[in-house]
Structure formats: structure tokens, C-alpha cells
């Protein structure tokens, strides 16, 4: 959203002043500067963050954007691996891992999905056997994003029970350079290799690399609770606004076909509704101290489906833009680097369980029915 609510900025004026003072002191900030300023994970407590709630985190994002800056954000590092260590890790783990993670010195990946445990993580088969000094890992992960560039992985592995037992899965920190780790990139339909298979052949881990309690892995790996972290897809700089604005450039003029303008308006309003959900979160947090869990499921579905729709439409738009002789508008769209990437539309609804999982969760809540998906994904039992 390009017009940030002034009342929200006023409500969190300490945060606003903090960001402004920081920006003035750091005209050309490094990733470490962002981290030390508490701006990579503003929802975390000090010294890493600003203890900002939803509203405060939105103000951070807005103030940075207003200063022409984007924090070096990573959903996987901050909201998943980092949040798990912050909440459940030992003092030693927090001291060792959190600053390099926030400063971007050490990259992380999530070692969650397996060939037979995709959305249903209770089916995990990768084993962590107890050894005298720690654990020995054997098994296979798949669809691991960023594995080839990661220093560490946050690994879900079975420490007890049979496949299907959610309470036998534990959470580990794995150095990706460990002997026995083999990374095999998967080429996707666009020719890119963002995700990989990761094989573990008797990989030895020190006992210290267990995060939290044994058997608590599936609860620990869920982020955002109780630290109210604004999801990176919550609008306000999620990366889709620029595309929508460039589409609006194309919609101007009497020669634009009505169906074309209709779709652009629909996409614009959808994107605005995602921003408005964040406003609702902030207001609810202001009034009651916490934001709705249900809205989180809803947002996951909306953002994934919205991204798919935008990418599909951008593909159609280029040809239309040419025929309407809107070369300038098409070029500005191309500068966003999303034109010609129709295959990304196919990928958009796959991550984090897939959008159908979120629709199932929303539906199960609506009918108050004991769906297995709701149990696994929303932690409700």
C-alpha cells in the first residue's frame, strides 16, 4: 500500500522515530547495520529486535520503504529457523546462531519435506539415532529451498515412534557442510534450481544441536507464536504492489479493452485487501493484545493464489501491451523481472504446504470439524 495510515504511524511513533534516526545515521546501510538496528526482526525482543507488535512492524516496513530502503529480509531465516531458535533454543544456541543469521552472514534452509511426507509432516521417516556424543542422521529431504547456498539447515527428524506419530519428531541444527550431506538440485519447469533434494548418510550431529525438547519438533517448527511476527507476505512491500502499479499504468486510456481493465481492477483490489488484512491485524492487536489466528490461514491462501493470478496475468499482458502500443508501460513491467516468468505462476501455490492446505484449514475451522489437516497445520488438537 502506498499510503500508510497516519494514525498507525502515530500510534507507534517510538518505532517511527527509531527507524528515522537509524536511517539518518546509516546513509548506506550494510545488512549488519539493519540487523544491529533491530530492523531485520523488529518483532523479536532486544537485543535482536524492537519488541514491535504487528502495527510496529508495519511501521518499520513503511518507514524503510519511505527512506528508499528494504531490509534484507528472509522468511525462512527470520520467521522459521530464527524464530524457532529464539523461542526454543538454548542460551548457547541463541548466542551462536542468531546474530550471524540476522546479519545475513549465515544462510539457512528448512529441511522439512520428504518424498513421503510433503504437507503431512507427521509421516517423516528421516531418523536421528542417539549416539554417545549426539545424533546420527540418515534419510532424505526434498523441496529444500536454498539448500545449495545455506550454511545451516533446520532439520525435522524422527527420534522415536513410527511414521505418523507427530510426537516422535525432533528439531535439529545441521551444518550443511557436514560429512554425509549430499545436495542434489532439482531443475524446475522454468529451468531454475531453487529447490533441492538433500540426502543424509550417517551424518553426525553433536547433542547440542537439538533445538528444544525431544519430540517437540512439529510444534517448534511453527513460527509466529507467540512472537507476533508480521508474515513477509502480509502486504506492505511483499513485492506484488509494484506489479499491480505497473498493471494500472497499462489500464489507463480509452483504448483499453474492458475485460482487460476489469482484471487489472480486480487484481488491484485483491492486493489492497491483503494490505487491509494487515491493518485489521494491527487494530485487533491494539484492541485485544493479539491478532486472529484464523486470519493467518486466510492470508496464506490469499497471497499464494494472488501471486499466481498476477504472474499469469502479467504473461498475458505483455502481448496486449504491445498491441496497444504501450511500450513504456511494458518496459517498466519488465524491469520488475517478472515478465516472461509464467512458470513461476505454477510454483506460486506450492510452498508451505500448498494453498489447498490453507483452504482446507479455513474450511475446517468454519465447520468446527476435527480435520487432520487442521491438527497438523494449525497445531490444534
Amino acid at each position: 500500500m502506498y499510503r500508510f495510515p497516519p494514525y498507525l504511524a502515530d500510534r507507534h511513533h517510538e518505532v517511527r522515530e527509531h527507524v528515522r534516526a537509524w536511517a539518518a545515521a546509516h546513509p548506506d546501510p550494510s545488512p549488519a547495520d539493519f540487523a544491529r538496528g533491530g530492523l531485520v526482526a523488529p518483532g523479536w525482543p532486544p537485543p535482536w529486535g524492537l519488541d514491535a507488535g504487528v502495527g510496529g512492524q508495519l511501521v518499520v516496513r513503511h518507514e524503510l520503504a519511505a527512506a528508499g530502503l528494504t531490509a534484507p529480509l528472509s522468511e525462512i531465516e527470520v520467521n522459521w529457523a530464527g524464530a524457532a531458535i529464539l523461542r526454543f533454543g538454548s542460551d548457547r544456541q541463541r548466542a551462536r546462531y542468531l546474530w550471524p543469521l540476522l546479519e545475513g552472514e549465515e544462510r539457512w534452509c528448512r529441511l522439512h519435506s520428504e518424498p513421503d511426507a510433503g504437507s503431512d509432516l507427521a509421516m517423516i521417516a528421516t531418523r536421528a539415532e542417539r549416539t554417545t556424543g549426539g545424533y546420527r542422521i540418515s534419510g532424505q529431504k526434498i523441496w529444500t529451498f536454498g539448500a545449495t547456498s545455506a550454511n545451516f539447515g533446520a532439520l525435522l527428524a524422527r527420534t522415536s515412534g513410527a511414521r505418523g506419530d507427530p510426537d516422535g519428531v525432533s528439531y535439529f541444527i545441521v551444518p550443511m557442510q557436514s560429512p554425509g550431506v549430499t545436495i542434489v538440485p532439482i531443475k524446475d519447469l522454468g529451468g531454475a534450481s531453487a529447490v533441492s533434494e538433500v540426502f543424509f548418510d550417517d551424518v553426525e550431529l553433536p547433542a547440542d544441536n537439538l533445538i528444544g525438547e525431544l519430540g517437540a519438533g512439529l510444534r517448534i517448527r511453527r513460527p509466529n507464536d507467540p512472537v507476533p511476527t508480521v508474515p513477509f507476505n502480509a502486504g506492505f512491500g511483499a513485492g506484488h504492489d509494484p506489479a499491480v502499479f505497473r498493471l494500472l499504468d497499462l489500464a489507463e486510456g480509452d483504448d483499453v479493452p474492458g475485460s482487460f481493465a476489469d482484471t487489472i481492477l480486480d487484481l488491484y483490489v485483491e492486493s489492497q485487501s491483503i494490505d487491509a488484512l494487515a491493518i485489521l491485524d494491527a487494530e485487533e492487536e491494539h484492541a485485544t493484545g493479539t491478532a486472529s489466528v484464523q486470519r493467518a490461514d486466510i492470508r496464506r491462501w490469499l497471497t499464494q493464489e494472488f501471486r499466481r493470478a498476477v504472474l499469469e496475468f502479467v504473461h498475458d499482458v505483455r502481448a496486449e501491451g504491445e498491441s496497444l502500443d504501450r511500450r513504456a508501460a511494458v518496459e517498466r513491467l519488465d524491469q520488475l523481472g517478472i515478465a516472461g516468468t509464467i512458470f513461476r505462476a505454477a510454483v506460486a501455490t506450492v510452498p508451505n504446504g500448498g494453498s489447498d492446505i490453507h483452504l482446507e484449514t479455513v474450511t475446517a475451522r468454519l465447520f468446527d470439524s476435527g480435520s487432520a489437516v487442521l491438527t497438523a497445520w494449525a497445531g490444534e488438537r
Binding site: 502506498y2 499510503r3 495510515p5 497516519p6 494514525y7 502499479f245 494500472l248 499504468d249 489500464a251 489507463e252 481493465a261 476489469d262 487489472i264 481492477l265 488491484y268 483490489v269 485483491e270 489492497q272 485487501s273 487491509a276 488484512l277 491493518i279 485489521l280 487494530e283 485487533e284 491494539h286 484492541a287 485485544t288 486472529s292 484464523q294 486470519r295 486466510i298 491462501w301 490469499l302 483452504l359 482446507e360 479455513v362 474450511t363 475451522r365 468454519l366 465447520f367 468446527d368 470439524s369
Partner: protein, 370 residues
């Protein structure tokens, strides 16, 4: 209704108000929707002190309270009457009247139930929506109005028509009494009998001016934003009812040895509607918060967006609920039939869907950062 309803978001004051209004809605459940609005309903609202009367400049309203009110009472049998008489009538007179004595008097009379007000703002063509009104007032201190207004809600039963018209000094609000010379009210066909609309023809009809400041200097867009928000909130509350009816049905109805909710082809229709409802609620609440915080530059666009999205959303949630219920969903006696007519009718108010969408797109293009 057993279906999950919105969780609290606005704080305890508003949740108390919501709870009170739900009680009132239950009491009013058996009212004939086609009957005129009972003054006792208005007295109960007046007791809630919903209209601020502090002489604020510009005149203001309790935006969030009205949001809750139309979410909760909009779907009730008095919803259409409240929309026409209170939101479009009394509150818009308040917002357009600029705090003048004449406007205040009419508003009080309307809210006490003594006087039925109807707002005449829409005209043929799109120009009125950009603030250019073809209806003219002439004659100085004894003004007479000439022109045509369209889609005036409950005009045929109104005691006083409140008319937006251009004059020599700008755009102002005028009052025309029922039966005035040169006034002709022609009721239009409707698909929602509880919300009848009429064309109003003015041919030198005697009028009195209510506003002091030029409506173009803010009151017009603010008042239209309020009307759009009231309609949007009514759509949100009504869509919740429609979805709740379908959810209840799917929990009860059994086929193939189990309840219909076990079939995802049917239940996911409701899941999609649930998502849409959250979007509807987010857009209306965002706009109401902007009103509550006096964020006037942002409000018009947000309110217009909420209205457009919620108009379509109500229609779509209702249509999905009907499909989830199968054949029983399309019967006259099913409450969804009322929702279906209401949803499609609400989209037609204030110029209709196509015009609202065109204006929204124009404004979105204008607001694009460079």
C-alpha cells in the same frame, strides 16, 4: 446460527455495542420487512447516542459504531429501512448539511421517526458521481429546483426529499416537501421490495436550502463515503448470515451416509466464501478506521473500494451458499432467496456496479506512485 461469527477486533466498547445490536436484531426478527420503519427502532438507536452532536466542523459521525450497526442490523428486516431513512437520509443530511440549523432540525425529525427523509443525489449519466449535478436551483432566497434524480431510495413514502443541486454559488443541499408543486415521484421496478427506489422529477419545485458551505469542498465526498461504507457493512453482515445458513445446512443434511460437510466439493465453497468475507471485513474496517481517525484524503478511495468489493462479495457468497444447498437453496421460502435479491439490488444503488468500478479504476490509476 451456529456458524462461527467474526471475532472481536475493535475493542470492548464496540463489542458491547455489537452484542446489544445482536439482541435488538433478534427482537426485530419477525418484523415485516416491507413495513415502514418503526419509530421505536429509531428511539433505541438514539438512546445509543450514535450520532455525534458536538457541532464538529466538519460534521462527523461515529464511523466505527455505524460500521458495527450496519453489520448487525443491516441483515435484519429493518435493514433496508435503516439504510434508506437513517444512513442515506438522516446521516447524509447531517454530513451534507454542514451543521446548519435547517439540516439539524430535519435530522432530529428523521431520527425520531416523525419525518421520513429520502436522499436524492444520483442523476442519469455518470457526471453526478464526479460532483457535477445537472439539477439546478434558481431563484435566490426562494429557490426552485429543476432536474431529474434517479434511484432515490424510499422516495415514494418520504415526507421530505433532500436534494443535491447546483446553484450560482456552488453545490448545495435543498429540502423539498412531499406534494410540492412541480415534484413527481415515479417508482421504479425493483427486485427487493423492502428497498424501493424512484425517479424524482423536479420542475421548478419550491425548496429551501439546508447547507451553508459548498458541498464540493469536502462534504459531498465524505457523505458519499459514509453511504458506501454503510452499504458495504450491510453486505458484510448479510453475507455472514447467508454463509451461516449454508454452513448450518451442511452440518445437518445427510446424504450417502454422512453429513454434506464431509464432501469437500461442497464444503470448500463455504471455505472460499469465508476467505472472501475476511477480505470484505478488512476493507470495510480499514475505511471506517480512516473515517474515525479523520484521514479524509484516504477515506473516499477506501470506502469506494470496500463498497465495490463487498457488493460483489455479498452476491458471490450468497450464490455459493445457494449452490451448496442444492435445490432447496433456490426456493422462494428459503432465506437465501431474500439475500440473493438484496445482494443484487444493493449493487445497483448509488449509480451501480459498472460506474462504481469505472470510478474506482480511474482513482487507482491516479494514485499510482511514479
Amino acid at each position: 446460527m451456529t456458524c462461527e461469527r467474526p471475532v472481536p477486533v475493535l475493542g470492548s466498547d464496540y463489542e458491547m455495542l455489537r452484542s446489544t445490536l445482536r439482541g435488538l436484531a433478534d427482537d426485530l426478527a419477525e418484523v415485516d420487512p416491507a413495513a415502514p420503519l418503526d419509530p421505536s427502532v429509531l428511539k433505541q438507536l438514539a438512546a445509543r447516542d450514535l450520532l455525534s452532536d458536538d457541532g464538529a466542523d466538519p460534521p462527523d459521525v461515529e464511523w466505527l459504531a455505524w460500521l458495527v450497526l450496519f453489520e448487525e442490523l443491516g441483515p435484519s428486516p429493518v435493514g433496508a429501512g435503516l439504510l434508506a431513512r437513517v444512513a442515506l437520509g438522516a446521516v447524509m443530511t447531517h454530513l451534507l448539511g454542514g451543521g446548519s440549523a435547517g439540516a439539524a432540525e430535519l435530522r432530529y425529525a428523521a431520527l425520531s421517526g416523525e419525518t421520513g427523509l429520502a436522499l436524492a443525489i444520483q442523476e442519469p449519466g455518470p457526471r453526478w458521481a464526479r460532483g457535477e449535478h445537472a439539477t439546478r436551483a434558481a431563484g435566490g432566497s426562494a429557490p426552485r429546483l429543476s432536474g431529474t434524480k434517479r434511484a432515490v431510495a424510499q422516495a415514494s413514502t418520504a415526507d421530505v426529499l433532500v436534494v443535491v443541486a447546483a446553484d450560482d454559488v456552488g453545490t448545495h443541499l435543498y429540502a423539498v416537501d412531499r406534494g410540492a408543486q412541480g415534484l413527481t415521484v415515479v417508482e421504479a421496478p425493483t427486485i427487493d421490495a423492502s428497498l424501493a427506489v424512484s425517479a424524482v422529477h423536479l420542475d421548478g419545485a419550491p425548496a429551501r436550502r439546508l447547507s451553508e458551505v459548498d458541498l464540493a469542498d469536502g462534504p459531498l465526498v465524505r457523505a458519499l463515503s459514509f453511504a458506501r461504507l454503510a452499504i458495504a457493512a450491510m453486505c458484510v453482515g448479510s453475507a455472514w448470515r447467508a454463509l451461516g445458513l449454508a454452513v448450518d445446512y451442511l452440518q445437518d443434511r445427510r446424504q450417502f451416509g454422512t453429513t454434506l460437510r464431509e464432501f469437500q466439493a461442497v464444503s470448500h465453497r463455504c471455505g472460499r466464501s469465508r476467505i472472501r468475507l475476511e477480505q470484505m471485513r478488512a476493507l470495510t474496517t480499514r475505511a471506517a478506521l480512516e473515517g474515525a481517525h479523520g484521514d479524509w484524503p484516504a477515506l473516499p478511495h477506501s470506502a469506494a473500494m470496500a463498497r465495490v468489493f463487498c457488493g460483489d462479495g455479498y452476491a458471490s457468497v450468497t450464490a455459493e451458499a445457494m449452490r451448496a444447498e442444492g435445490a432447496i437453496g433456490i426456493t422462494w421460502e428459503n432465506a437465501l432467496a431474500l439475500h440473493y435479491r438484496r445482494a443484487h439490488w444493493l449493487r445497483e444503488l448509488l449509480g451501480g456496479r459498472a460506474l462504481e468500478r469505472r470510478l474506482l479504476l480511474e482513482e487507482a490509476i491516479r494514485l499510482v506512485p511514479g
